[in-house]
Symmetry: C2
Subunit: 198 residues, 2 copies
């Protein structure tokens, strides 16, 4: 048997999405063989993330400061708010430099199957931000999945009556497509053609 240390590392890696037990074992071997160029950098990077990162209390982004760099940046358009499911979607939009406003991360999407209810997501906090005023447009940037669209409809209902322009990403997106997997061009087009929620 490999040592308990190696078993523990194999287990921790095999719980990552995309890595099964077998590829986790390969990854461990790689980390051990390439200690200086693989294990040490991974360890340092994890330490940094663990020590320095926290969740922004305003928008749910993950950053070294709270409020995060986006919420604290005076050049960002504070009147425009983009609602996303996950931090990864925020990153995807930020990589494209397409959205000049600020964000709101829900932390997931409504799902009967997975038992995710409105109170499990940062929806109340979104309503509070909008009720506080100063926001003119809310862009719903949910994934083009059934659950993403259910979430968008639910949020649209909750925001009825507030003096905002409520839009959502145009659905030139492939059906079933997840934001995080799209190329920049597709994202750009979807954002340009965003339309009012019916």
């Amino acid at each position: 048997m490999a040592s308990p240390e190696i078993e523990a590392l194999t287990q921790a890696l095999s719980r990552l999405p995309g890595l099964g037990p077998r590829s986790a074992r390969r990854a461990v071997l790689h980390l051990i063989k390439k200690r200086e160029v693989a294990l040490v950098p991974l360890l340092r990077a994890l330490e940094q993330v663990s020590e320095r990162l926290s969740t922004c209390g305003t928008c749910g982004n993950v950053d070294t400061t709270d409020p995060c760099g986006i919420c604290a940046d005076p050049r960002r358009d504070s009147r425009s708010l983009c609602v996303v499911e996950e931090v990864a979607d925020l990153w995807a939009l930020e990589r494209s430099h397409l959205f000049p406003g600020r964000f709101h991360v829900l932390g997931g999407r409504l799902s009967a199957l997975e038992g995710v209810r409105p109170e499990d997501l940062a929806i109340d906090r979104l309503v509070s931000r909008i009720a506080a005023g100063g926001i003119d447009e809310v862009v719903l940037a949910m994934n083009a999945t059934l659950e993403g669209q259910t979430t968008a409809h639910y949020i649209a209902d909750r925001l009825e009556g507030y003096p905002i322009r409520l839009t959502q990403l145009a659905h030139g997106l492939p059906v079933g497509g997840e934001l995080d997997y799209l190329d920049e061009g597709t994202l750009a087009q979807a954002l340009r053609a965003r339309r009012p929620v019916a």
Copy 2:
């Protein structure tokens, strides 16, 4: 953009075998969202491996002690030596509890394509161990690949003239099969039917 800490972690993970840039990003998100059950255990496991593990100077195994637990275990048959390409192969044989002797890890296989020469592997050290005496049988447990078999032939040549029984795993193994991917039954059969090198 995500913070530099997140970019560094994404890069470190994307260099692992089996994880591309996209799945690395997903893994990072998972680590951040499930900090206590995913990030912290992975960090602790890496720290333990980094601090406690070293390579056995005798056999090339990775363990918390040097010599490793196998080399130091008086119940192991010191007269029988199993030569493997990688530490992962040693682990695979150990998981099966099939081999009562000790090991010698080459650290790879000869490969013209990848420029791996005899002096890049622990072959001289293998010859020294055998020249020192006390070993009756050497089992060549290379992968059933072209490179594995080339390596086995090269080692067989180098060990000519030493008073040992030189065997190799029976080739009931699937062609192109790698040891680390085989189930225990196949491994057991291959080991039982091991035969002298022609």
